[in-house]
Amino acid sequence: MTVLESSNSTLPGAATYPTRMSSPRRRKASSRLRYSLTVALFLLPSALPLLFFTIVPMIAAFWISLHQWNLVGPMKWIGADNYARLITDPGTQGAFLHTVYYIVGYLPLVYIGGLGIALALNSRIKARGMLRGLYFLPVVTSWIVVALVWRWLLNPSTGIVNWLLSLVGIAGPGWWTDPAWSMPAIILASAWKDVGFVMVILLAGLQAVPEELYEAAKVDGAGPVRRLFSITLPMLSPSTFFVIVLSLINGFQVFDQVYAMTGGGPNNSSQVVVQQIYDLTFRYGRAGEASALSWLLFLFILVITLVQVRGQKKWVNYA
């Protein structure tokens, strides 16, 4: 993830180190070079993996995307055909639509849930340290474990969720066996798993809101609802922005839970973009098409993130 705060950071003490000396130019240049080298050296440990495990594979994937390749045989150059095919392919369009469906369902759920828990755990209640830890537990649990547990919970005939629903007279849906409910099932599990992460970010934001603002508002006669909308939410906007950007980027790459819970089914009803990339590569032997789809997804996420970064001036409040 790129650092989103404005970056004026310098090495500690670096600002004062060379400038005070009234030395000849050459010396100034050499110390500037040494300074750049120092910076480069510090960046190297993260730059090298980035280069070899992200940048180079991306370029390689672009090269593959211009070919027809089944992973086993020789590659055949076909230019932009993969891209042309993907754009008109109903399967790809479906995968993008399902991914958007996932985000539209997931984001409000995880944000409002995270905010609610953060507000509750920011007040002086008993055992809040332990509760914060508990809510964070799913975040650090493996997706495979979480997905299997949710498959049990949401089992249409023996799951506890449908049993609970039956107690109040509701016939539970088929969840992951029903195309209409497979995506809601995935959204539910995902929101449950990630709500602790959103809570931690928002909790940190809440604790940075100065108490005086609330006191002043109280003196002016503002009630709790007014204080939430006029103080808390505006002061939280940088944290909110961070949560939304991150959730969107991760949301478009949703895969683990889909793979483990439904495998994209039934009848492709939960087929998302990355699952489609996986299937194209490893099930259908179409690595070229899969690489092209990876690039389309990358460009899609890039554009959406750029729009968000541009848009933040309108509503994000860096006090």
């Binding site: 992200t54 994937a61 593959i64 089944n70 086993v72 690595a287």
Partner: protein
């Protein structure tokens, strides 16, 4: 919220980097006393026959002290993906299992080495031939198996129904299944996967065809196709558990049968060895047909990788694994599929082993065989399209005619 970078990208790079380095593997002969290790990757021993494979490996190593065989066993479900990834990365084993349906694409892509000097007389001719292309032998059949109808005698007795016979039809099966099913007690009459692998066979049982003779378009979009789809999908929720009740998850059907809660099970002979005395009284019979008999025949083979460094040793192992006496005996005595041997007398002991009593059905089934349709690189896509369409019929979200028409359009597009 863990970051999941596009996994495919990294893998693709790894593939590029490694394929360039492995093209010029020097081939040495293993006839010298030099010690070599041969890797063998397989799915056929997974799920209960690992020890039997080990017996064969040990016998081979005893006979060839300078060759060590290193075995990797994967579940069938993951095997194709793993092999494909290994082939792309050039890290495949020296010898590996392949299926009949995939041979064509491995040959076309140069992944498997042609084998010279194999003693063909040891193999059943039809099986050996099915792994040949352009007059060359590209893999050696290691086993064959077919699908039969398993039945629990106690449940038949309890329901007062006659045991299935070789002359049964679909109608007899349905009638018996209905009588045995007791959903209150969790007892079901029948189980047959609603999937591609059952569909092409059911299609033949009712007199239909999957592909037209030229192989350029599908023929299953027919009244027979509709009948076959309805036959399979119609069981679900009446005489057979639905996906929501667990159908389709691994081992669900065999577990139900072992628990004595399933009257009839359509499955391959490879599961027979796991039943033993659970349920107490069971037997097998050739699957019922509709207008004609048709049984699924599967065969597996061992291929030698085109890039192995020890071709001679690898081929030696491949031949041992597919034609040695130890292999045949081990398979026969454990009931682990059948050896592809030309020597019928070797197969005889199979008939006199204890359960199931009617082992003759395994051979009778071979008289009317339905082979899977093969279309090349898009094979898996075709399998998925059919299985998805049948799932829609099973869940009653679509009529059989509509679902098959949709599937036919999609598969015809693949065949162009």
């Amino acid at each position: 919220m863990n970051k999941k970078p596009l996994a495919a990208l990294g893998l693709a790079l790894a593939a590029i980097l490694s394929t360039t380095g492995c093209g010029s593997a020097a081939k040495s002969d293993a006839s010298s006393n030099e010690k070599v290790t041969i890797k063998y990757s397989n799915f056929t021993s997974n799920g209960g026959n690992e020890k039997n494979l080990d017996t064969i490996v040990q016998a081979f190593e005893k006979a060839n002290p300078n060759i060590t065989v290193q075995v990797t066993t994967l579940p069938y479900k993951d095997y194709a993906t793993a092999l494909q990834t290994d082939l792309a990365a050039g890290t495949q084993a020296d010898t590996f299992d392949i299926e009949y349906a995939n041979l064509g694409s491995y040959v076309a892509n140069g992944a498997v080495a042609p084998l010279d000097g194999v003693d063909g007389s040891k193999y059943k001719e039809s099986l050996l031939k099915s792994y040949q292309a352009d007059g060359k032998q590209y893999a050696l059949p290691s086993s064959f198996s077919d699908v039969v109808l398993y039945f629990n005698k106690d449940l038949f007795d309890k329901a007062g129904v006659q045991y299935p016979t070789a002359s049964w039809t679909w109608a007899d099966e349905t009638a018996a299944a209905k009588k045995i099913t007791d959903s209150g007690a969790g007892v079901y009459g029948d189980f047959q996967n609603v999937s591609f692998y059952e569909f092409y066979k059911a299609l033949e049982q009712t007199g239909g065809k999957f592909l037209n003779d030229d192989g350029k378009s599908v023929a299953f979009n027919s009244p027979q196709g509709v009948k076959a789809a309805e036959w399979l999908a119609g069981k679900s929720g009446t005489t057979m558990p639905t996906p929501a009740q667990g159908a389709g998850t691994p081992d669900f059907d065999t577990k139900l049968f072992k628990d004595g809660k399933l009257g009839m099970l359509h499955s391959g002979i490879w599961v027979a060895s796991s039943f033993a005395d659970t349920p107490k009284n069971w037997d097998i019979v050739v699957e019922p047909g509709d207008t004609q008999k048709a049984s699924a025949l599967f065969s597996n083979a061992v291929a030698v990788s085109a890039n192995t460094k020890n071709e001679a040793a690898a081929q030696k192992w491949a031949e041992f694994m597919t034609s040695s006496e130890v292999m045949a005996q081990t398979r026969i005595s454990s009931g682990w599929e059948l050896p592809p041997t030309s020597d019928e007398s070797v197969l005889k002991p199979y008939l006199t082993k204890d359960k199931p009593a009617n082992r003759q059905a395994v051979f009778d089934a071979l008289e009317h065989v339905a082979l899977p349709p093969v279309i090349g690189d898009n094979q898996q896509k075709m399998v998925d399209i059919i299985t998805n369409a049948l799932g829609e019929v099973e869940a009653k979200r679509s009529s059989a005619a509509d679902a098959l028409k949709g599937a036919a359009d999609q598969i015809n597009a693949l065949l162009k």
